[in-house]
């Protein structure tokens, strides 16, 4: 059975006493009620944290760009302007809600909600830590790819429904860009699936370990190249610069969300920033060892055996360490995303398509073949163990 956050909580004694207590009220459904409650509460917490991370993402973006351009950046609201995103949120709620009279009203209202739904749904499989993964679906990465493409639908519908030329151009570009770059993303994910031998994030992350040489990034040369292809394509899929053509402000005013104002625009922005976080988290999980931290399991064992700590307490501490490891890796990648945005100029549409179809897709296909051959030829061994074995045989001679 796939493990979920409920599986983690059910290890504690309190869980069973609560089930016993609930069964007096709900009878046989007690387990189900508790499962639902835990899922709902954890989902609420994750959505809350992610909304904050998305909000802080806008703040970080402005602050880092200001840093790179020798400006001050936001510094009025709260210490160092850190509460700027709350002020922005309040402002968005207070803005008048304008729906263009010529727009396709139903689709216009639906589009930002679709974006939000797609991004929120991907949060179900984001591996924050081994315990606090909402649900470790056995089709994990496949589900993630599918749900993430819902965002593309939202962006296209937003552009189409506005009935404005800028929006239409932006929406069309967005649709073609997102579907094009989904191919390299899927192919690089397949490379990792070949190495890990499973689709669930649990399998993929447990195939790696905390130390960098056991990451899938360094498993073989093809995986190493795959990481960069995945990262570049993800930038394009989330419409981040240098691939922000759907909202290219210098040519398309504001692209697909030209006609959106107030909170409806806020949904698009929030969805984008959360999606960037999710994409970085997935990159960390697939290539950088995910929530594994150095000496992972042995620290937990040492806490139990050497210090004589309660095993449940030790487990919780190692969960915290895992969360720290995951957030460190993901936020480091997040920083790179912002860094790239303020460093590279935007591509042209034809360059964008050339990059995807004539460079990234063939290289990703080559990687897939190369990785499959590597797995067959070297029995699925990573490069470090091959080097180690060669060294050992050389030493024997």
């Amino acid at each position: 059975m796939d493990s979920t956050v409920v599986t983690y909580f059910s290890q504690s004694n309190e869980f069973h006493s609560i089930v016993m207590w609930l069964s007096k009220i709900f009878g046989d459904h007690a387990g189900g009620v508790l499962t639902f409650t835990i899922f709902a509460v954890v989902a609420l917490v994750i959505v809350g944290v992610m909304a904050t991370v998305g909000g802080l993402g806008t703040y970080a973006e402005r602050k880092i760009s200001a840093d790179m351009q020798m400006r001050q950046g936001p510094n009025r609201v709260g210490p160092y302007g850190i509460l700027q995103f709350l002020a922005d949120g309040v402002k968005m709620i207070l803005k008048e809600d304008i729906v263009p009279s010529n727009a396709d009203k139903f689709t216009f209202i639906l589009a930002p909600i679709l974006c939000l739904m797609g991004v929120f749904a991907t949060l179900a499989v984001v591996p924050f830590s081994s315990g606090f993964m909402l649900s470790d679906l056995n089709v994990g990465v496949f589900y993630l790819v599918g749900m993430a493409s819902l965002v593309g639908v939202g962006i296209f519908l937003g552009g189409y429904a506005s009935n404005s030329k800028w929006s239409m151009l932006g929406g069309m570009r967005g649709a073609s860009q997102i579907i094009s770059y989904e191919i390299p993303v899927t192919l690089t994910i397949l490379t990792i699936v070949l190495i890990a031998g499973g689709l669930s994030f649990g399998t993929i992350i447990h195939g790696q370990s905390g130390m960098p040489h056991k990451w899938f990034l360094f498993h073989n040369p093809f995986a190493f190249i795959s990481f960069f292809i995945y990262f570049i394509s993800s930038l394009a899929e989330t419409n981040r610069a240098p691939f922000d053509l759907p909202e290219a402000e210098s040519e398309l005013v504001s692209g697909y969300h030209t006609e959106y104002s107030g909170m409806r625009f806020g949904f698009f922005a929030l969805a984008e920033y959360i999606e960037v976080f999710v994409v970085c988290g997935v990159a960390a999980a697939l290539f950088l060892g995910g929530y594994n931290f150095p000496f992972g399991h042995s620290i937990e064992l040492a806490m139990v055996q050497k210090i004589g700590m309660n095993s449940m307490v030790a487990q919780n501490i190692s969960q915290l360490l895992e969360l720290t490891a995951f957030f460190t890796k993901t936020l480091a990648l997040y920083y790179v995303v912002i860094w790239v945005r303020w460093t590279l100029p935007r591509l042209r549409v034809d360059q964008l398509m050339t990059l995807c179809w004539k460079y990234l897709t063939p290289i990703a296909l080559f990687n897939l073949v190369g990785c499959a051959v590597w797995m067959y030829a070297f029995d699925g061994k990573p490069i470090y163990s091959l080097i180690f074995e060669t060294a050992v045989t050389a030493a024997h001679h």
Binding site: N102, V119, L137, K165, M172, S180, L187, M353, V369
Partner: protein, 134 residues
């Protein structure tokens, strides 16, 4: 043991409902505090201050359609690759890696052939040249 427990998909439903609640809640909360002074000009499409000419729902460039077609071929093929890729390691472990590898390779070759065909036809070029020698 393989039990198919739908409980693991519960978070998906919960998160989608949360997204709807979030969107609906924010719009509803705003309804009471935001101004509402609609006017004809305010509700026209933005065209840099000019009056909009015609509808945006006009015929669109056909190359977007070609990209979508190529995408569908690749996406379906890569979706079919997922099950094969996920069992590859297991088959490799029991010594049947060669069989799966050949099937993977032949599958990818079809994909590569399609890519080369599109490339030769010029469908991957965004700006197409129409001056061809006959």
């Amino acid at each position: 043991m393989s039990t198919f427990n739908l409980d693991v998909y519960m978070p998906v439903v919960i998160l989608i409902v949360l997204a709807l609640l979030f969107a609906g809640g924010a719009m509803l909360a705003g309804k009471f505090i935001r101004p509402s002074h609609p006017s004809v000009l305010k509700e026209t499409a933005y065209e840099c201050g000019e009056e909009p000419v015609g509808s945006a729902w006009a015929n669109f460039n056909v190359r977007f359609y070609v990209v979508a077609l190529i995408f569908i071929i690749f996406d379906v093929e890569s979706a079919l690759m997922f099950p094969v890729a996920s069992v590859f390691k297991h088959f490799n472990a029991i010594g049947m890696g060669g069989t799966v590898l050949v099937s993977v390779l032949s599958f990818i070759m079809v994909l590569v052939a399609g890519l080369i065909y599109c490339w030769k036809k010029g469908d991957l070029d965004w700006v197409k040249s129409f001056h061809r020698d006959n």
